[in-house]
Amino acid sequence: MEETLLRVNELKKWFPVRTGFFKSLAGREKLFVKAVDGISFDIKPQEIYGLAGESGSGKTTTGRLILRLIEPTAGKIYYKDKDITKLKPKEFTPYRRKMQIIFQDPYESLNPRMTIGSIVSEPLHVQKICKNEREVQERVAAALDEVQLTPPDEFVPRYPHEVSGGQRQRIAVARALVLKPDFIVADEPVSMLDVSIRAEVLNLMVDLTEKLKVAFLYVTHDLALARHLCNRLAIMYLGKMMEKGYTEDIIYEPLHPYTKALMAAVPVPDPESKRAEVVIKGEIPSPINPPSGCRFHTRCPQYIGDICRLKEPKLVHVGKDKYVACHLYSEKT
């Protein structure tokens, strides 16, 4: 059996909706935003696993749940078969060392009043893993070296505003790497960067999987980039997984009507490619009261009747590590 680095089982996060005082007195049912509503997947060592979906689909929440930056409502998270869902903060500290995150906006995620050196060394001080300051400096230099901010000495005393956007995001990567993690959540790491420098950050991620044997959970809304980066891909919609499998299979043979619609909607940088008519109407519904049954049935072009409205389709195995949650496919099994 292949080794699994991280496994997530039926993970849920429901955020309570704040209602007015009188409404709560009236004893109305409590409302929740079901940001993540029962998803399962696993990540292998050195893999880049893509989590794609529209805004509001719960992909960012998933990334944060795994690192326990927010506490899950239900479900389990396993790191190398160890259940880390309910560990106390003290017990969790050593796992934080192994699991890191890169945030979306490098203009906001780096403290403008700290030098690059102190930003990158902060995790080491928090985790208290270095015996002396020299060791700290060595590890900071090594991390900066890994992300090709060379020579490191030149970057250590500078401030984030003195470097470019792409370099900032590489500082964020260095900060994650300095603890030698084997799993990093990359939450839309390039969506704030210019086109010409996006590739340098993404290519860096690919290189790190090989060189430092890091696995990534790549959270994105950009399917074209996910396609060139990820080994496996999961498509989320309103807190649920619609389809997951190997990237190639999802791109070339999408099964779920939602995935098909997404693939058709992704613009292609080729003026010769024929535009398909957009078949999906409307926008993603509110996650407070998601549609009953299959969450996509209100927009689905292949709606097959009451079953879609009433019964929630399960994620079923349809071959070669590919899973789809759609009644079009679940009936066959």
């Binding site: 805004s55 470019s164 010409s196 420098i197 590739a199 613009p267 292609v268 003026p271 926008e283």
Partner: protein
Amino acid sequence: MPTLKVEDLKTYYKIQRGFVKAVDGVSFDVEKGQALGLVGESGCGKTTIATSLLRVLPSNGMIVGGRILFKDFDIVRLTEAELKEDIRWKGISLVFQGAMNAMNPVLKVSDQIIEAIQLHEPNVEKQEALERAGKLFHLVGVDPSRLDHYAHEFSGGMRQRAMIAMALACNPDILIADEPSTALDVIVQAQVLQLLRQLKERLSLSLIIISHDLSIIAETCEKAAVMYGGKIAERGNIYAVFKNPLHPYTQGLLGAFPGIKAPKSRLISIPGSPPDLLKAPVGCKFTERCKFAMPICQNVDPELIEVEKDHYVACHLHNKT
């Protein structure tokens, strides 16, 4: 005769440390019923072109040279009153970037459209303006009953449609859309682009679409202009620019923009970052990042020359003379 002809436009911003040459000698045409795509990275001058065309620059911005020929006017020379009378909204209108947040939150959407119509066509009655707003909503695919609502009651895609409807309120010849789909989800983005294509055909509207996303331009435009550091690096027919890119920057951008169906490949990045327009290099602005840079590139700024019919490039590699 093109609908709009821009000749050697120069727009600078004055800041404490000097002049930022945001747009520095840009020329292009827009034909009737056609779409021109302006592509480039942030800070390359795309949005400044849009604001220059309507003369709605921030107070420290100024057009220091060039001509903007539209109908019988040179927009650069018009007075404020003339601009209001003939150009803004009636001739050229603009859908700003981040249209999602460009509406007034305390006014009903209908009132905002009526305001725009009555400001530019003072003899239109309110009732007539409201009817026109209803037709516009119908045109962009929003239920006219929603006119009575406030912007926050609209979803992102609907707000973008409403903004487009508002921009069309006085039958402009040219619609400028600045990053029309950037904040939208993929499917909604595709819907909005489809709408723009339909409007272009139905109203024989000329479009200027500004985007950093090459694929959006490829899907909506007949012509493209790639901008870098306040200048046009390459422009021409969309097929020429995308299928036979000549400027190293265009080539790099296309490499950084993989198609989703293309075989899995390593992305290509362009080393370095865009130039500081405050102290722009003398020669070609792209020299520092260009892998084909030659000695001449540092000293002489290449002219935009026609290499084949309707395909212009500003690069010494292609300057045969």
